[in-house]
Chain length 218, copies 4
């Protein structure tokens, strides 16, 4: 669909240059449209950003639900949470990056409603860590700090992961699950213990970015 093409072009440019530094004429040019035509497919520049962040956060929450539903064991939950988060970020690095960095570019109404989604995710992660700590399964000195460290570590994946990279996504996911276990002081887990694989969804707003154009992402 054309409107997805527009979305993908927007994400590509937002990720490369930042939201504020990207013009809608630039986005339009990328998909071969006049800038006016772009308004048939979108609700304007902020509308594009909202669409991206919305679908990215929706998917994050959806996969979070699925991750937590599988087991009541905090360590399994933590592992599945990280695997899902990393999978989403690795499969959709540009959308994830934009979602992470562009809150401040939103108008206050949109910012508020999207922050609700992000906060919901973060507090679910926090709850899992707290539960593991209380149950004596985790060895954490400061659960809040641990949560922040894990979060930044996982969010960071979008900053460097490239599809054409050295490691397949599955390996990166499992490495990060291991990082998570280490950070909470829990024993290592193998893939079998995590339960059924969660396949991350490719978002309709995620552009295909040829590897060489991504050099300058940061």
């Amino acid at each position: 669909m054309k409107s997805d093409e527009v979305l993908r072009a927007a994400v590509l440019l937002f990720a490369r240059q930042g939201y504020a530094a990207t013009g809608i004429r630039e986005i339009a040019r990328e998909v071969g449209l006049n800038s006016a035509t772009l308004y048939h497919y979108t609700n304007g520049k902020e509308g594009l950003l909202v669409a991206v962040m919305q679908s990215c956060l929706d998917e994050l929450l959806r996969s979070t639900d699925e991750a937590l539903r599988h087991s009541g064991d905090p360590q399994v939950q933590l592992g599945r949470l990280i695997r899902a988060h990393v999978g989403l970020s690795a499969l959709n690095p540009l959308s994830s990056r934009v979602t992470d960095q562009a809150f401040r570019s939103l108008g206050s109404a949109n910012r508020a409603s999207l922050l609700v989604l992000r906060d919901s995710y973060e507090s679910q992660l926090g709850a899992v860590i707290d539960a593991g700590a209380r149950a004596g399964l985790f060895d954490v000195a400061d659960p809040r700090l641990t949560r922040l460290a894990i979060l930044e570590m996982c969010n960071g994946v979008a900053n460097w992961y490239r599809h054409a990279g050295r490691l397949p996504m599955r390996a990166v996911q499992m490495q990060f699950v291991d990082f998570g276990c280490r950070l909470v002081g829990a024993p290592a887990m193998d893939e079998a213990e995590l339960g059924p694989v969660q396949t991350p969804h490719l978002l309709r707003c995620e552009p295909y970015a040829p590897p060489d154009t991504m050099e300058d992402l940061s």
Copy 2:
């Protein structure tokens, strides 16, 4: 000095709104100057950004040197590296944040020269991890991934640390040293083993941001 006031105002606004979304009139207004006058103190908007990033990266490299010089033991080096990095980020969260996020706003010449500094830091961190791994002191499956995880985790500090926060800086530093040890699979260290305290420098470009104005940083 007046030019430092300007620098601090710029950092404050860049951190809050992003470089592209901040106008130089806005910066000038913050320090009670006409926007034209500002050009007596600076080299323009990008000049301000370069000055901030330069001094932040310089200080990061300086403290890195100091950290590595103290001991040849990879674990001590890693701990001191993290302690310095976290200290710098916590004491100068706004400058650190700007430095981390604004590479893409630089012209290509400035970007290239500043990336050299950042890459130098990152490769020194990488070298320490590799050394620890080769020496059998660390238990790392993929040194490169480990380096990235540690980096993002430390960089992330600038996104949430507040001076008026729950934990004193020293506690946060030691927590992150512990996170680093866990990630590389090394035993925990206490403060004594790290050697003489490294006092992070307060950058001349770091603004004092009243805690309540920082709520909306992300």
Copy 3:
């Protein structure tokens, strides 16, 4: 007919917001059409305006003819002219308002041809006043100024008359006939002397505007 619906929507919006401030998409939306479809029913935006002004001025001239034909007495003619003009404006306030104010929005060709109609009306009014003055029936110091005063007074009716108002149209008409007589220094007339009632026509372009939506007309 659908094309009349379009016309009425246009008049409503032109009267409320002005011609230049009204978009054709807005007009189309009002009648539930796509803006492109609207071009099947009209000759574009200016075409709509021309149609409105044309029919309003045509009707003004038609009722003028009828008014003058009935009697040769300048006072009766003046009274019938005013009664007709006020009746037309009161029954079609929105169309009249648009017709009065939108000459400047016309292209030069259309403006010229429609100004001919308006000038024709105004000079017929002027002729009646001149005739009454010459015949000693009127007491006017400056016929031209008197004509202008009467004209503006009558045109003004469209600015404030509302169907749901305090006074019925007939009463307003007779009041203004009286105003006219006073301005030319002629004795008052009662409705009988004016001859057969002239029933103003409801223009096909006159929209029905619910009284509460008309509060903000000026």
Copy 4:
């Protein structure tokens, strides 16, 4: 002053083409400025309009005060009110025209505050008519209608009066005072009875419009 030049250019174009149909680049070109420079002298397009309407309505109210203060006799008050209003409109026809027609182009905040001024004027006129009627000095069948007729008649002056016209302003003023007396059924007054001459002020926003450029005002 340059900002007055800008104001005058704006009034000229607003009067000729209407507010909505006038671009700020057009205004800027008229005074030989870049459209951006215009923002050093003004608060933008609506700011220009507000300045014009404000000063016009202020002056109307100021002269109204002066007119009413001189005498308690309703007929003298009415005469002085009309003389002042017509004088203001004749000396500043373009500003008056814009002020009369552009309420609907204002944002709601500005519209509300300026409507207060206009309503204040209109109700003072209404009060004078009511007083004359109650005192038996006037012979009015419907004071409200009479007020509207006088208002439209006076406002209309700005639509046709030209400085280079046939009649000097003073003559037009006295003619309209006479019209007013006739409309309220009061005896004619000569200039002496009206009390000291009120000299209307030339507004700083009133442009000098060469007579030939004003042909197309309506």
